[in-house]
Symmetry: C2
């Protein structure tokens, strides 16, 4: 098992999954990692909807332009937030990262799917006073998976591959 830093540094989106299910004890760790994430004034502005039924995963996959990885995932966790206010959204990002890193430490890949709220809300029965904009696919990476998104090469869809150089985004004392 990697140490925490290398687990964090090595996390990459996995969009092609092996059909093997995720063991219940690992799923519980993933959800506890989300639950124990810190939030502004400890408001915990989230609910997590665990989806394993194929029909539901397929329906969610139809709710986003780049959501088709949900079709092949053995499991997804939709993150429902209290609102789209800055801190609720920011804290949801923190919880997502906690869950994805916990999975990755067990060799389980993940990918965030952006969802159209109007499409996805009735699929999961999310009440009107909560917000649903994403689900995270989880699954063991497929061996020899193609480097594609929706059948297109990664570099056609992503803003770039890799990351912007360190010195372009890190500033010392002032911008």
């Amino acid at each position: 098992m990697a140490d925490p830093y290398h687990n964090i540094i090595s996390l990459r989106a996995v969009r092609h999954f092996d059909p093997a299910p995720i063991p219940d004890n690992i799923l519980r760790h993933i959800l506890q990692a989300g639950r124990w994430t810190g939030s502004a004034k400890n408001t915990q502005p989230w609910h997590f909807v665990v989806v394993r039924e194929r029909g539901t995963l397929d329906a969610l996959a139809g709710c986003g332009r780049y959501a088709s990885h949900l079709r092949a995932a053995p499991l997804a966790v939709a993150i429902v937030t209290a609102s789209t206010r800055f801190w609720d959204t920011f804290d949801a990002g923190r919880a997502a990262q906690s869950m994805m890193l916990t999975a990755w430490a067990e060799g389980i890949g993940s990918c965030i799917a952006g969802l159209d709220a109007a499409c996805a809300r009735p699929v999961l029965g999310v009440p009107d006073d909560h917000h649903l904009q994403l689900a995270i696919s989880f699954g063991y990476p497929q061996a020899n998976a193609p480097h594609t998104i929706e059948g297109r090469p990664l570099d056609e869809v992503l803003a770039g591959l890799g990351r912007v150089p360190f010195d372009e985004i890190v500033h010392w004392e002032r911008w």
Copy 2:
């Protein structure tokens, strides 16, 4: 060193710091953890401003109601985002969690300070087309630190202590 899961589960906000500086190699790991965080379409919608000058930390501490922990921190990292759109904010939350977990694995505590943008922007010289709403304090936890925020007991400021029960926030297949 804790395994990744226990590192994630045990992360708590630390608001009272020992003045010891953070070694440069650990700071670099913290920043790399932020830099390598995933983002929607790999847009990497962030800049990180590292602040160690006492005058600047004090000025930022005056820019938020619960930001005074910046005064005692040996170092802070302000996260500047490309916008306040949903994904930029969500991804900033992911990057923050990556940095805080990297620090925690080294025994370094952290706390997020919400900042008033109009107050903080000129302090760091952040351009008008970028958004600044938070900085993260980093430092070794002070021994025998009080359990207070701004001198008030934690439970007067936070929505609650601990976390909402697992079964209240986790839903199976549907809300």
